[in-house]
């Protein structure tokens, strides 16, 4: 209990209580964050294993490693696992869960039990999806396009759809919890303009989760109904409209990209000022650009459908709106860069990831301009160009942000320091491996290699670039395994972390590492702005060697 006798070791959320029950029934947002961390890491390595098999198959033009049906399941399940069971929960459910209450000076989220329910829904969804994978898997692509999914696929479409349906509710509840918490639980003095931009990013993300995910849920239910009960909704042979599915699907799934990238932008916006020892350049523009992305992100979905059979004029409107959403993203990149100007910069692991993020996100964003362009998209649509583009955003962007954040807050989460040298090495390996994997795919795509091809023996000219990509993927794999190894190692052998190892601004650094169960000994009062680095001394021992 909270009033238990003071032991030699400081009480914190980790040693507050022991035993499996104290974890499975916890309502502490920090423990739930760790539950999520373990679960999404598990799914990340499953998805990564599928990716490895895909890259190995594409090493040679012939379809010679796995059967065609197996390959189709591999890329379908790679996408579904990575998106619904790793990327969407990644930063919000792990770092967001851990940090949102800490950053605003609250004891917990507004609805601690609903937070635990979110995790259980995620686990139920995960078990359903694992069951689906073990009993045959699904081969619809992550997109479930109709009428293939509802009338032609012989795989476990209903099972996969229902698993993702349940996972969606986990996401909705997390978003709901964040919105209410950010509105109602801020510490005295923590006004909206003093909020860390990580919070603004999560606020924008939560709104998308709340408004977008129900549409996905409805769409998946319709797919299940058509497949199981032969209702004519999407299948033209039953009087349905296959394009209706695409509209509904992308109405969620385009904003879903922002569910993945906005939190990563929030992470980078914390890291860059800390390691530049400067306030963020243009705070209000960075905050408002998150909201603008969330709002405009809902108005661009049909840019996934320029060759699907929509009218000329709707294509025109959606192309123009897609360029509008690029503006707030550009604003963020410029502001991060400007934040470094006249700073006092050090190059610890989180900062290296932030550099990586800015570079890769910039390239992902710029290639997005190609895809939003009505003149280019018909050629590169459904080719490896698209694959490369969205991996630059989701892996180069979201995963780099996630890893950067994990390193930045690891001392707070675990109370231990990770080995800095290994951290930097891994960041470098990830960056190199990533570019080697995905840059060649831009060229492959423009040359015309379609996505989701198991066999390209009719066009062997694509092989060289595929070999490069596969080589890169193996480097990238090493880069991802390393942090897992040294994070685990550091939990036992790492140096004890001070409360604020980076001398960073933000309430989460004012409490102990790891924090006590209710976060703060007494509720903090905020009378300073976010990123008040002018009044925070630089770290005594420079992290720089």
């Amino acid at each position: 209990m909270a009033t238990a006798a003071i032991t030699q070791e400081r009480q914190n959320y980790l040693n507050q209580s022991y035993g499996i029950k104290s974890w499975l029934l916890t309502t502490d947002h920090k423990r739930i964050a760790l539950l999520y961390l373990a679960s999404i890491t598990f799914f990340f390595f499953i998805g990564g294993f599928f990716a490895l098999l895909i890259r190995l198959e594409l090493l040679t033009p012939a379809g010679d490693l796995v059967l065609a049906d197996t390959y189709n399941k591999l890329f379908s399940m790679h996408g579904q696992v990575m998106i619904f069971f790793f990327l969407i929960p990644s930063i919000p459910a792990v770092l967001g869960n851990f940090l949102v209450p800490l950053m605003i000076g609250a004891k917990d989220l507004a609805f601690p039990r609903i937070n635990l329910l979110s995790w259980y829904l995620y686990i139920i969804a995960g078990l359903m999806y694992i069951h689906c994978m073990l009993t045959g898997g699904v081969d619809t692509g992550w997109t479930f396009y109709t009428p293939f999914s509802t009338a032609f696929s012989n795989t476990k479409v209903v099972e996969a759809g229902l698993a993702i349906f349940v996972a969606g509710f986990s996401s909705i509840l997390t978003g709901l919890n964040f919105v209410v918490t950010i509105h109602r639980m801020r510490a005295p003095g923590m006004t909206w303009t003093r909020l860390p931009l990580f919070i603004w990013a999560h606020y924008a993300t939560s709104i998308i989760q709340l408004l977008g995910t129900p549409v996905l849920a409805v769409t998946l239910v319709l797919v299940v109904l058509e497949r199981a009960f032969h209702l004519g909704i999407f299948d033209p042979s039953r009087g349905g409209d296959p394009l209706l599915f695409q509209h509904l699907f992308w109405f969620y799934s385009h904003p879903a990209v922002y569910i993945m990238i906005l939190p990563a932008m929030g992470v980078v916006t914390e890291i860059v000022p800390c390691f530049s020892r400067k306030r963020v350049f243009g705070y209000s523009f960075v905050a408002m650009s998150s909201i603008a992305i969330a709002v405009l992100g809902f108005l661009v979905w049909a840019h996934h459908m320029f060759v699907a059979g929509i009218s000329l004029y709707s294509a025109m409107v959606f192309s123009m709106l897609s360029y509008l959403v690029a503006v707030p993203s550009a604003i963020k990149v410029f502001n991060w860069t400007a934040t470094m100007y006249k700073g006092s910069i050090t190059f610890s692991t989180p900062m290296l990831y932030a550099f990586g993020f800015i570079g890769l996100f910039t390239m992902g964003g710029l290639t997005g301009l190609f895809l939003a362009c009505l003149g280019i998209d018909p050629h590169v649509h459904d080719t490896y160009f698209v694959i490369a583009h969205f991996h630059y955003i989701m892996v180069g962007g979201a995963v780099m942000g996630y890893l950067g954040g994990m390193h930045f807050w690891w001392p707070k989460i675990s109370g231990r320091l990770y080995p800095e040298g290994w951290g930097r090495l891994a960041a470098l390996i990830v960056f190199v491996g990533f570019n080697l994997t995905f840059f060649p795919q831009f060229i492959l795509g423009y040359l015309g290699m379609p996505r989701r091809y198991w066999d390209y023996s009719h066009s062997p000219e694509f092989q060289v670039l595929n070999v490069l990509s596969t080589a890169g993927a193996s480097v990238l794999g090493v880069g991802y395994v390393l942090p897992m190894v040294y994070f685990l190692w550091s939990m036992r052998y790492g140096k004890l972390a001070p409360d604020n190892p980076w001398n960073a601004a933000g309430l989460e650094w004012q409490t102990t590492s790891p924090p006590p169960t209710f976060n703060f000994e007494e509720t903090p009062v905020v009378n300073f702005e976010a990123y008040d680095y002018e009044h925070i001394p630089e770290p005594e021992v420079a992290v720089e060697r």
Binding site: L243, G309, S344, C373, G375, P378
Partner: protein
Amino acid sequence: MFESFPLWPARASTTAAQVDALYIFLVCLSTVMSVAIFTLILVFAAKYRRREGVKAEQIEGSNKLEITWSVFPLLIFMVIFFWGMIIYFHERTPPHDATEVYVVAKQWMWKLQHEEGQREINQLHVPVGRDVKLIMTSQDVIHSFFVPAFRIKQDVLPGRYTTLWFRATQPGTYHLFCSQYCGTLHSEMVGQIVVMEPAQYQAWLAGGTPGAPLAETGATLFQQLGCSTCHRSDTQGRGPDLAGVFGRKVLLEDGRTVIADDDYIRESILAPSAKVVAGFKPIMPVFQGLVSEEQLNALVAYVKSLGQPEKGERPGIPATVQPPQPKVQ
């Protein structure tokens, strides 16, 4: 220069050059923008790295800069948008006198029917310099007709027609890919576009298995299926006379008008009661499931051929076709 390491596929259609020009512009623009940002970051990282005794200078921000780097990118984006739009509109508006080829996609092959009667599977022969319009439909799931050398792509949907057009400029054999995932052998749903000099093409036409022209096949079907008993040119028919209907506006029983295009003819055969012509009763039997996609294409081609205005003089805004002898309204 790039023969051993090409950066783009062969450029074999009029569209290809337009798309490549915009692509190269975008590549240059992106390179300039990313090099500028990366250089700034590297310069800042080097110049402002932590030094003893030097403190960071706190800067709040600058509205001027924020507006500059919002408005300038937006202006550039709008240039890209308009440039792209022009190409897209060109690419999606087939010339009126284009030769029509019907395409039926199915898991996992392409079936093509020429106006002249030639049928091909996974191959399309076309002459250099002729505008070719593809009228495409699918028998099962969604496919996508993609010819990298022409820089064109269009999804092929079940239950409706989508169109695509091109004018080949270089003789050669080019990849045809299905680019919309369509099941097990998606990656085997590939074919070839064979672009030939006009003379060679004529030789190919003459040498192939002779088949009746598509419209003629359609005419035979029109008789066999009994369509002609009602759709007659005299005024006694229980169905509307189809002569000259194609491409015109048709007044419907419920007061709406539709253009009698490929999709309308198709729908009227498969589900006749959906849009009944004014003055007629919904008595036509449903042909859904009774005619194959290829037969349907032949029928559409036949209806199209009936008293169609001479190519080239087709009016821009089609006149409304009045129903024959309107009965009591």
